[in-house]
Amino acid sequence: MAAKNPKPHGLLAQFDTASAIYSACEKIRDDGFKYWDAFTPFPVHGLDKAMGLKRSMLPWIVLVMGLTGASGGMLLQWWVSVKAYPLVISGKPLFSWQAYVPITFELGVLFGALGAVFGMFHLCRIPQHYSPLFKSERFESVTDDKFFIAIEAEDPKFHPEETAQYLESLGATHVEMVEQ
């Protein structure tokens, strides 16, 4: 399936501490790399800024979903109680908005939560069970206690030998090439 000498996916550099990867990311960001990422066993405080990432738009997705859920809930209850199946319950008005508050609220929260989780999946493009990085054995320790940076070959500033040296100069304890 793989062609002879396929284009590599990129370089994978291992770092051993959170502070090492933090300073490395700042330099890579400042040096203008675009197609790269850092990999950590837990979210490192401040790493988003160190990588120059823009704020996530997830909150907006959640807000829209939440409002949809809440208004949908109110609409459902209005339609059922006023139009589809009107019943006089203990003399309360057909549109008893007070009584509709609990379910309206709950549905707002449900849709907001669905928006948060599936919105996050969408923004991360997960599930994505395959990644070339999984081919590296060292990379298994990314979910344990080691930190990694991968600079992809797609990046205009990528060069197999120079970028490898560059990564070592940033404090990487090990650099390897990863195939597609």
Binding site: T17, S23, P43, L47, M51, P102, E106, A113, M120, D145
Partner: protein, 480 residues
């Protein structure tokens, strides 16, 4: 002389540790990132301990009793329970409220303590969230099985049907259906989201292909990418921000089952916050009970420390006090109102035919937590264990006292009657514990019961500005 972190955080040296001006360390014994992984994953990867089998089989047999009871209930009808006129609501709703309440602690630990930046939650939140899900499962069985005509249960849901009939949205029982099932759903979402990085850890450590695929499927390909962590952290915070009002609203809606009525003892405005406080109270007690046991069996003492237990016991003291406050308010206002039915209800609770249940409730809920004013009690495992069980007994009795005393003696004395449980009421309650403990034992056997990624994130070395020997940082990240 600069001590190494491992030295400093050894349990023996902690007594000299000054909590004012600094903070207690969250993880003791100088554990590293890798140590955390090992501590949490090892119990799942090694051979199943005999103790687990004993516990699992015992729970499964209780679950079997539950199954049998439910089968007989469906076959014969709800007459097998002790319900009568006027006590039309008995153990089913008491058990329902009991289990929902227990579930609330998990969400509080995950969500509310997260928003309050209480980093010590990371040692216990995974187990607590799992406990929530299992408690909600137990809770939902009761409204499910108690309807009598089980084949008509679909009438509860707003789905188009051949009769053109729709549910009554003005009924608190329907709000419950929505609230508790949404609570279950969101809790699963929150729990699963937190699990993803840890499932990735399990996947990467798997020695067999089956395990790798099993954990790998649910890990969704997670590889710790920071671009992913960014969205993940936002999602986590939003889920925490959503779950907080959710947990408050769910037990509020449960309290509405009683409070929207006109029954003395049920209809009182303080029910919503009172029920929520009571739920957190019982939930934390259950978390304590469970974690005292699992921490010992699985060797997690350095991650779930005595400080965690102390903080939990303080929360139990606070919420217990709120419950006591509510008892006091109800009692005072029942007199102040000048309404003879109200006054009678409260005198009847304390001195009527159910006085025995009332005083069990008071001694377990109001008196027992008072020992937690004393640090010795807050840090003594035997006392914590016994007290937490008493609290849960007390909270079951509180729901029993509320439900049954108000029904058994309301406005018309000629309608008064006494409710006694039958063997099937008891078997359903006991059986629900079987469901709960069976699920929990499966959880601890196959899934990491500590949120590894989160615990790692609060270690001193997780801070990118950390330098070994930097006293300020080590102290600033901590439990109280």
């Amino acid at each position: 002389m600069t001590q190494s972190l491992a030295e400093k955080y050894r349990p023996e040296n902690l007594e000299a540790y000054d909590p004012i001006g600094g903070r207690h360390p969250l993880v003791i014994g100088g554990e590293t990132l890798h140590d955390i992984t090992e501590l949490v994953c090892r119990p799942i990867e090694r051979k199943t301990p005999k103790a687990w089998w004993a516990f699992f089989l015992f729970s499964a047999s209780l679950l079997g009793i539950f199954g049998m009871s439910i089968a007989y209930l469906f076959w014969e009808g709800t007459g097998i329970w002790g319900l009568n006129n006027p006590v039309g609501w008995g153990w089913a709703i008491v058990n329902f409220v009991f289990w929902v309440g227990i579930g609330h602690a998990g969400t509080l630990i995950s969500a509310i303590l997260y928003l309050f930046r209480q980093k010590w939650r990371t040692g216990i939140n995974r187990s607590a969230e799992a406990m929530t899900i299992f408690a909600v499962m137990c809770a939902l069985t009761f409204p499910g099985i108690h309807v009598g005509r089980v084949w008509a249960a679909y009438w509860m849901f707003p789905i188009p049907n051949q009769m053109g009939m729709w549910p009554n949205f003005r009924s608190p029982l329907l709000w419950d259906v929505f609230a508790v099932s949404i609570y279950g759903t969101v809790s699963v979402l929150f729990w699963f989201t937190g699990l993803i990085p840890d499932l990735a850890t399990m996947r990467d450590r798997s020695k067999t292909k089956i395990k790798r695929i099993a954990y790998g499927i649910f890990a969704l390909g997670w590889r710790g990418s920071n671009r992913h962590w960014q969205h993940y952290e936002v999602a986590y915070m939003i889920l925490a921000g959503l779950s907080t009002p959710l947990v408050l609203s769910v037990h509020t809606i449960v309290s509405f089952d009683f409070a929207v009525s006109q029954l003395p003892g049920w209809h009182t405005t303080i029910f919503p916050p009172y029920f929520v406080a009571g739920a957190i109270f019982s939930g934390f007690a259950m978390v304590l009970t469970l974690m005292i046991v699992t921490r010992k069996i699985f060797g997690l003492e350095n991650i779930v420390t005595i400080r965690h237990f102390e903080n939990m016991s303080k929360i139990i003291l606070v919420t217990g006090s709120i419950v006591g406050y509510a008892y006091g308010m109800e009692f005072f206002i029942s007199w102040y109102s000048g309404n003879p039915y109200e006054t009678f209800t409260f005198v009847n609770r304390a001195f009527g035919p159910y006085a025995w249940a009332y005083w069990i409730m008071i001694s377990c809920n109001v008196i027992t937590p008072q020992i937690f004013w004393f640090k010795k009690a807050r840090t003594s495992i035997p006392i914590l264990f016994v007290a937490s069980i008493f609290v849960n007994i007390g909270m079951w009795f509180e729901r029993f006292v509320i439900t049954v005393t108000s029904l058994s003696r309301d406005f018309l004395p000629s309608s008064w009657d006494y409710f006694s449980p039958t063997i099937w009421d008891i078997s359903c309650l006991v059986g629900s514990f079987g469901l709960f403990f069976t699920m929990f034992s499966l959880f601890v056997r196959f899934l990491p019961q500590v949120a590894m990624a989160e615990v790692k994130a609060v270690l001193p070395e997780a801070d990118p500005h950390y330098h070994p020997g930097d006293a300020h940082h080590a102290e600033a990240e901590g439990a109280h």
